[in-house]
Symmetry: C2
Subunit: 300 residues, 2 copies
């Protein structure tokens, strides 16, 4: 069974890691790059790095970003020099950003560089950026107007959102479109639909490719709360509805063949699987991944 | 007494630190930037950093470069990613290079950026790069042909030199020329004349300004050996003479009003001061700086 996963950061990365083990590495992951940014002059790709580090078993499980056991000496020194210190980059993590920045500067495409980093870190799954072109997600806020994604999320701590502004220009990575066209099943991780999944699905050709596939998503909302991040506040602000798995399903608007929700969260309008969706341990990831794949098989 | 010092790395930086204390911070230092390089995409200025860190009391005294007590986690991670690891950049040290790289990229001149870094680190002396323009020193070697300076020194460990190639284009920093014109005394640190001092003195206008000043240099050769670095091998290769304080004095070719040498090293052709020139402790630096200034006063 050919499986492609779409992923944002933490939750998506954890599911992807489970999927990769369930499929013995035979998995393609298309990762959101809408929250990529340039910080300290470095090209940062937070979701790509979280997926890559999580797949390599090197991620920091507690924080959900960066490398486990990393140190922050450069950050402390930047603060002492009066430079911006609101975005935490670890010392070992810096190697990834330095490598990416130098590679892009000399013209290496983001997907080739990502493949090279994954090889060096021992990642077996195929990790693709959604695009080789910059595709910055902007967040229009009540208090500060239009903000680049990381400034909204990290610097300003996710203030109230008026709308999400996704760019029109960028093209999907051709290899990502090819993988979607060839997929038996597409799994959308328990990621934020507005800022992690839609930056991928609205790229030209992606929604069309998905419409011909079995697509299963996981709900990032459990019992009316977001497992992580600001989604629970975004749903009422952007849709007028209270935060719920149902609201997420409706946001996907007919894209899904099936929806996986937490036990007790009921949804109408699509075949659903209710199970334990919170991934606390590595065993949880594998068990959930297997259930999701089994559910998808049943939908085919 | 207005004092300007010309400096390369380690030895020059130590004398400069003594001079700064002897003059209560009232010192201008013009620093070689001929060995600046771009590594990992970062703008590195080894001599500027060594002077700055040494003046701030933050340098690593044993190594002579970098920050004392720094860690090397990013370097280890770069090595794991298969990136170049022959040039050791510490984690806290990286903050300086990241700040410099971002500043230059947005058009801040090197001297303004250097002043800003010095302020942040509490450096009282005025530290000027010799030029705001790239002025790369190349080393023509018997074994590898023409090499950028750091590749010659660090990557290839200073193989035999055929000649030093200094660029023709770069202009001296106007503020450095002004400081030299206004100086009562110019002190040239115990730096390598070929690759630390001449990159400064051959910039248009510098030698002319020096010809009207009291100029005192310290010998980097003690008892026929270099205190640090590859100078003892360079002198025979480039001049045909054995390494000696006399050979250094002759290399300066009439530029000097006086020459400070180690006790026991005799020189002919300029007024000289023989004293203890090896700076092992911070007290040594201050004592030597005071002796050099006293000697220069006597030459006026």
């Amino acid at each position: 069974m050919k499986v492609v996963a779409l992923s944002g950061g933490v939750g998506g990365a954890r599911l992807v890691e489970g999927l990769s083990r369930a499929l013995d590495g035979d998995l393609t992951v298309v990762v959101n790059t809408g929250d990529d940014c340039v910080h300290w002059g470095l090209a940062i790709a937070p979701d790509l790095d979280t997926v890559m580090y999580t797949l390599a078993g090197l991620g920091d499980d507690a924080r959900g970003w960066g490398l486990g056991g990393d140190t922050f000496s450069a950050l402390a020194a930047m603060r002492a020099l009066g430079e911006a210190s609101w975005f935490s980059l670890g010392d070992r993590d810096l190697a990834t950003h330095l490598t990416r920045t130098a590679a892009l500067a000399r013209g290496e495409p983001l997907d080739a560089l990502t493949a090279r980093l994954c090889r060096a870190l021992g990642v077996r799954a195929r990790v693709l950026p959604m695009s080789n072109e910059p595709a910055p997600t902007l967040v229009d806020t009540v208090a500060h107007g239009l903000l680049p994604f990381q400034e909204w999320l990290v610097l300003h701590r996710a203030p109230e959102v008026r709308r999400i502004v996704l760019p029109d220009g960028p093209r999907a990575l051709p290899a990502a479109l090819d993988a979607l066209e060839a997929a038996d099943v597409v799994v959308i991780g328990p990621s934020n639909p507005y800022v992690s999944v839609e930056p991928i699905t609205r790229l030209p050709g992606v929604r069309d490719a998905l419409s011909r596939r079995i697509v299963v998503a996981l709900s990032p909302i459990v019992g009316g709360a977001a497992v992580k991040g600001p989604l629970a506040e975004m749903i009422p602000a952007l849709s007028g509805a209270p935060p719920s798995a149902q609201a997420v399903l409706e946001r996907y608007g007919g894209l899904l063949s099936g929806f996986v929700v937490e036990r007790g969260d009921e949804v109408r309008g699509a075949p659903s699987l209710a199970t334990d969706t919170i991934m606390r341990t590595r065993d949880d990831r594998l068990r959930l991944a297997r259930e999701v794949l089994e559910f998808a098989r049943g939908l085919a």
